[in-house]
């Protein structure tokens, strides 16, 4: 099977490439990337006027499978990814049961191979059951292909446990992904502490809850040399700490979510549970800082933190609603609208933060269109105008703070292992 993607603007940061080229794919691999390919193909995709990029990678998703299928499952979650132009997702281990042993890592991988539309990387838990007490079998999980380890959803409260984890996992050259918000503050508060929380009376979470946690883990990264990756950084203070740590040569990286780059706590004024998330949506000052951090390289990757919930779980009073919302089907549109068309970022920068850079962070054999590599491709129409309609989403958790948003720019085709899984917004039969 040969597929030819013709005449697209190939943007591949892994090769410093931005030129109109043809891309030939044979049996799942990229076999040629040239100005003009004349070889006959079974399928020709005309990419004239479109951007052809290495497949987008989302390092932070919750596919909820196994055990929480009312929120999402492997099939619907990866369908949402394919629809959104994302070829590879890493899924967090806070499922039921928590992914804290090699047999569970295998289970998720098998399920992904069976029903998944895109590649799935498995993140194992740092501690058994994400309880923050005893280390899980990270070595065994690493040998079974876990990408990294995280107790996402929870801060590892104990500094000594965190130090043990960082020391232990170093032997396997794996990273710890840290959900860094000091737990005590998170229990008492439900949104960003600031002018909006003062106005609407919802108890606030001070942004320093994040800064304090990040400072501790930067210190642990320095002491152990272990790669620490800060999940969904959202506070200016935390970002400043990471910036300084990177400058000092500490092995620390971080990611930012689409919503922390584009929304503020003003969105919470209506008490819509579609705006409730952890870390909370913060004030404009923090959003601006995130954009600066993305620009200057402090932030390595853009993620969704796709965290769907069942409708009845979110259809409650603000305080009682669980944190999180879906994001896989909106990330490309929102990022292109808010960061590309606003001229803040070039398309090369954005493709890097959504594909090449995240692959590098965790040594994934992806994020590139180099000849010989797996053919994971995201095709973008930078100027396509569309309106987010969450009722049409593939994800089960349809509540989105971006619902109704007018976007410019969309992924119009997604290719995984040389096969299109989405074309023109329609999923291809699995």
């Amino acid at each position: 099977m040969k597929t030819l993607i013709k005449n697209g603007r190939v943007v591949d940061p892994s090769q410093n490439l931005d030129a109109v080229m043809d891309l030939l794919i044979e049996d799942g691999k990229i076999t040629a990337l040239e100005k003009k390919i004349t070889a006959k193909a079974d399928d020709v995709f005309d990419a004239t006027g479109l951007v052809v990029a290495p497949g987008f990678i989302d390092l932070h998703t919750h596919l909820r499978d196994p055990g929480l299928e009312a929120k999402e499952d492997m099939r619907t979650g990866t369908m949402a990814a394919a629809a959104g132009g994302i070829t590879r997702v890493a899924c967090m281990p806070n499922t039921k049961p928590v992914i804290d042993s090699a047999v569970l890592v295998d289970g998720v991988k098998e399920r992904a191979a069976d029903v998944g539309y895109v590649h799935v990387e498995v993140i194992g838990a740092i501690t058994k059951g994400e309880q923050g007490k005893e280390l899980s079998e990270m070595g065994d999980m690493a040998l079974h292909g876990a990408m990294a380890f995280s107790d996402d959803g929870h801060y590892v409260d104990s500094a000594s446990t965190m130090l043990l984890a960082a020391r232990y996992v170093g032997a396997f050259n794996k990273a710890l992904i840290c959900h860094d918000i000091v737990t005590e503050f998170n229990k008492e508060g439900f949104m960003h502490e600031g002018a909006v929380s003062a106005l609407i009376g919802v108890p606030g979470i001070p942004s320093i809850a994040e800064d304090i946690a990040v400072a501790r883990d930067a210190i642990i990264a320095k002491y152990t040399g272990t790669h620490i990756h800060i999940a969904h950084v959202a506070s200016k203070g935390a970002l400043d700490i990471i910036r300084k740590a990177k400058k000092d040569g500490i092995n620390i990286t971080c990611e930012v979510t689409v919503h922390h780059l584009t929304l503020t706590d003003e969105a919470c004024r209506t008490y819509s549970t579609a705006t409730k998330v952890s870390p909370p949506l913060r004030s404009w000052e923090h959003v601006e800082a995130m954009r600066e951090g993305l620009k200057d390289g402090t932030i390595d990757a853009i993620v969704t933190d796709h965290a769907p919930h069942a409708p009845e779980e979110k259809d409650v009073e603000f305080r009682y609603a669980p944190n999180g919302f879906c994001g896989l089907e909106t990330s490309v549109g929102v990022i292109l609208t808010e960061l590309y068309h606003s001229k803040l970022f070039t398309i090369n920068e954005l493709v890097n933060k959504m594909s090449t850079a995240p692959a590098k962070l965790f040594d994934l054999d992806a994020g590139t269109l180099k000849v010989g590599k797996n053919a994971d491709v995201t095709v973008l129409d930078l100027d396509k105008e569309w309106v987010v309609d969450s009722s049409k989403f593939y994800t089960k958790g349809k509540l989105s703070p971006f619902n109704g948003k007018a976007c410019k720019g969309k992924a119009v085709a997604t290719m995984v292992d040389g096969k299109f899984v989405m074309k023109d917004g329609v999923l291809c039969k699995k």
Binding site: E193, G194, I200, G201, P206, Y271, V316, F318
Partner: protein, 318 residues
């Protein structure tokens, strides 16, 4: 006085920020009429005959619930109280289902008290009947704000340029937020003081002046609103002891001297005597705490009448 140009027919009363000054005025004028009805021997008028009002209280309350109940009954409505001991979550039925059940019984107004911010708005988004917020978490208590406004006006004070002080637990207080919203809108100069652990971060954004010392907040004040201290705040460690609170933040006779001689002392009740307010200040000539309760019924009668009957005249009340 000319009738204020506003119409509250069918409008949900969720907070004071979303009401206009004209709407305040209409409510104040109507409440003055209602106060006359309250003072009659036979208080019952048929203005809301055939209307059903449901008081849904997800949090304990005696005075607000009784006040709403009497307000409805004085106007001839049928009033039912539903006490929901615990939150919807603990009860097992979600709030949406409870609200839809109530609506299916064809009530005309739902008065709701709820421990969580935004619950009133959530209810209003679902329900066709009018929703009157009787307090939602730390967000808003609009009828308390309006009864405070009515009481202050009854004393000839008209907000613009007046120094108003709110003292105590601002952080968890829906009363404070409601009064800040209304008083700043009416052009008053609003000052707040209390333990800094009970002061919201960035509260200045609401247009108030924050003081570390109570004395500075109340000096030369025209109105001093003393908030109730919930004793569980101390148990949660928000301030060291009730003794220290009383000594530093409590309003006693000594602090009275700092205010204007005719300053009004207000308190939403119930009072913790000897904690946020001393025994003698609670009973002093300037204290209008019992008047606030009276105003509460009048204001709630006005709101029920205006939202349920709109622009129609009060049945030849006079």
């Amino acid at each position: 006085m000319a009738k204020a140009a506003a119409n509250l027919s069918g409008k949900d009363i969720l907070d004071l920020a979303s009401l206009s000054v004209d709407e305040y005025e209409l409510i104040m004028q109507t409440a003055a009429e209602m106060k006359k009805i309250m003072k009659r021997d036979i208080k019952k008028v048929p203005s809301l005959r055939g209307k059903a009002i449901i008081n849904m209280f997800y949090e304990n309350s005696t005075r607000t619930r009784t006040s709403f109940e009497l307000a409805g009954k004085y106007l001839g409505a049928d009033v039912i109280n539903i006490s929901v001991a615990s939150s919807s979550v603990a009860k097992g039925e979600c709030l949406r289902d409870t609200l839809m059940t109530v609506e299916a019984m064809h009530c005309d107004a739902v008065v709701m008290r709820h421990p969580v911010e935004g619950a009133a708005r959530y209810a209003a988004d679902i329900l066709k009947p009018v929703v009157l917020n009787a307090g939602d978490g730390a967000h808003a208590h609009p009828t308390q704000g309006l009864l405070d406004m009515f009481t202050i006006r009854e004393h000839g004070k008209n907000f613009k340029g007046l120094k108003m002080a709110i003292i105590g637990d601002i952080l968890f207080s829906r009363v404070a937020r409601s009064n800040i919203a209304a008083w700043t809108k009416l052009g008053a100069d609003v000052h707040v003081a209390g333990p800094m652990t009970l002061m919201p971060q960035d509260i200045e954004a609401l247009g108030v002046t924050v003081h570390k010392r109570v004395e500075d907040a109340i000096e030369g004040a025209d109105v001093v609103d003393i908030l109730r201290i919930q004793l569980e705040r101390q148990k949660k460690g928000m301030f060291p002891t009730t003794r220290e609170y009383a000594r530093i933040y409590g309003i006693g006779e000594d602090k009275l001297k700092l205010m204007k001689p005719d300053a009004l002392i207000m308190h939403p009740g119930p009072m913790n005597r000897g904690l946020e307010i001393s025994w003698d200040v609670g009973y002093c000539d300037q204290a209008v705490i019992r008047e606030q309760v009276e105003s509460g019924v009048a204001v709630r009668m006005a709101l029920l009448f205006l939202t349920l009957m709109g622009g129609k005249q009060i049945e030849n009340a006079n």
